[in-house]
Symmetry: C2
Subunit: 315 residues, 2 copies
């Protein structure tokens, strides 16, 4: 009997689930609105229904669902599986998500932060294949982070580790939703780029600013160079701390990599130890919006390897 | 046959070796000037002589030297054991220290950065006993760092990880010896404290400023509060990244902990995620200047456990 896994990427507006083979081939997928305002029980109910529907489509006489992995936005306490708070899931405070899932699901599952799941997705099937020490920044609405140390996701004492987007890059910088000031998220997220562009372009988006930069508009080009500068400050500190093989940049903002790669590299070179920066590869994520689902599935597979119950399953 | 270990802490001006039992009891010690200017071969020769002398004093019919651990200042490439550069050992560039030691020593040995060794010393016999996730800052002439992740020192891809003193806390801050600006080392080292105090006290030392603060002098007290503020910025970022159980502060400056603990705690609280800072203990190192030697010995013992060759050695 062959196994498949489901990786569920829970987002603030939609959740997406992928059915994946142990080799990482995506068999099928499903997506639905999260409707977080209806509360955790309702969201769990909807996710479990989506998982059942997807599993039913993919299950065959030869292939059964082995385990499900969840990637969840917010500050997740591990191993208890409690969502302490989540900027993307309003009203979720100290939600015992693992307990809710245990009641609703009849297969084993794993839980992790969504940025950690995306990092594992890139490790398994993307830009960090074969790496043992790297970190990933997901530059989206916010800035998510994940760190792999000696092949394993860094969880810290309570599962909260990896909040790289809240590395302070300027102590006097703009206030951040986390309570600090001048966090990387205030300079390198899509939201921050739109905010920094407002004096020049009025209400806009990071994507529109990138288009303006590509048309040759100086303020938009300078703005992306500034993004690279602040990213460089955070990444120089993080490189000095982790001495990683590579740094993976994902999320929508990373699609403008060419617009900020120069100032990022220059700042990294100026502010990080030579022997460290000499070995540091900068790469753009390859799994796109599938990274979270793939990584969640990978984590479920690590915890619940393909069953070896039948000799036929071992080729 | 019982074993003992020697932990060698190589510093810029002196080296210190401890003979230590597998239980962490210090049997004897030796200290001598490094005389780094005479070059790596001469320094290795002098260290090996000191180790032989110390071992001869401690060896008995029942107790033999099993292995030696070295803690070395500077950017050390592992597992090759090459000192890429070292601010404390002038002229040491790309020194193949492991190869030199292999030729000169007839016992097995381990090599690590001195700040990593000190961190392991505190893990084994000091303020971090029993911890699995923590980091240590050694506030001395510079600011050294070591990180323990799931019980193991963080080495990164090439052994260079843990340069926490070169976390940028203000991108526009004073230039740092590392080539960057506004590194933590420029605000929280003894050298930095003396520099910041100069406008108020003329040429002075961090220790003299601490004494002035204890006498009630406002500028000196403010200055140590500022040290706590900048330490807090770096530690908030690092806590968000690592979610450690505790933060150990060592080095001479940490003896003034009471003078900066308030502003450090306040800044940490304001700039780090609540669930992270709620679990974070702040502790002062307990092994003093023995931390490096103890940690180096501990690392040698981890790599070369007490021999089980004779049944009598297993009680």
């Amino acid at each position: 009997m062959a196994a498949f896994y489901i990786g569920m990427d829970l987002g603030g507006t939609t959740f997406k689930a992928l059915a994946v083979t142990p080799e990482g081939t995506i068999l099928d997928r499903v997506q639905a609105p999260t409707e977080a305002s209806q509360g955790p029980e309702a969201v769990v109910q909807r996710m479990v229904e989506a998982i059942r529907g997807l599993a039913a489509r993919v299950t065959t006489a030869e292939r059964r669902l082995r385990a499900v992995g969840f990637g969840v936005p917010g500050i997740l306490e591990l191993p208890q599986g409690i969502v302490r708070r989540s900027p993307n899931l309003p009203g979720w405070h100290d939600v015992e998500l693992a307990a809710l899932l245990r009641r609703a699901l009849d297969v084993p599952f794993t839980l992790d932060n969504d940025a950690n799941a995306a990092t594992l997705g890139e490790l398994w099937r993307g830009a960090a294949r074969g790496k043992r020490d790297f970190f990933m920044l997901t530059l989206g609405t916010g800035v998510g982070g994940g760190v792999v140390v000696a092949g394993t996701i860094l969880h810290g004492a309570n599962g909260y580790a990896g909040e790289l987007g809240h590395t302070v890059v300027d102590p006097h910088g703009p206030p951040c939703g986390c309570g600090s000031r001048g966090c990387l998220e205030q300079y390198a997220s899509g939201t921050a780029i739109a905010r920094m562009a407002e004096p020049f372009y009025g209400k806009t988006t990071a994507r529109e600013v990138a288009l303006a930069a590509r048309r040759g508009e100086i303020p938009a080009q300078q703005l992306y160079r500034q993004v690279g500068y602040y990213l460089g400050i955070a990444c120089a500190s993080l490189a000095n701390v982790f001495n990683p093989e590579c740094l993976v940049l994902g999320g929508a903002v990373a699609q403008a990599f060419d617009l900020f790669a120069g100032s990022l590299r220059q700042t990294l070179r100026a502010r990080s130890f030579g022997p460290i920066v000499d070995r540091l590869e900068l790469v753009v994520a390859q799994c796109g919006t599938d990274a979270g689902g793939l990584g969640a599935a990978y984590q479920a597979m690590q915890a619940y390897p393909p069953a070896a119950s039948s000799p036929r399953s071992q080729p």
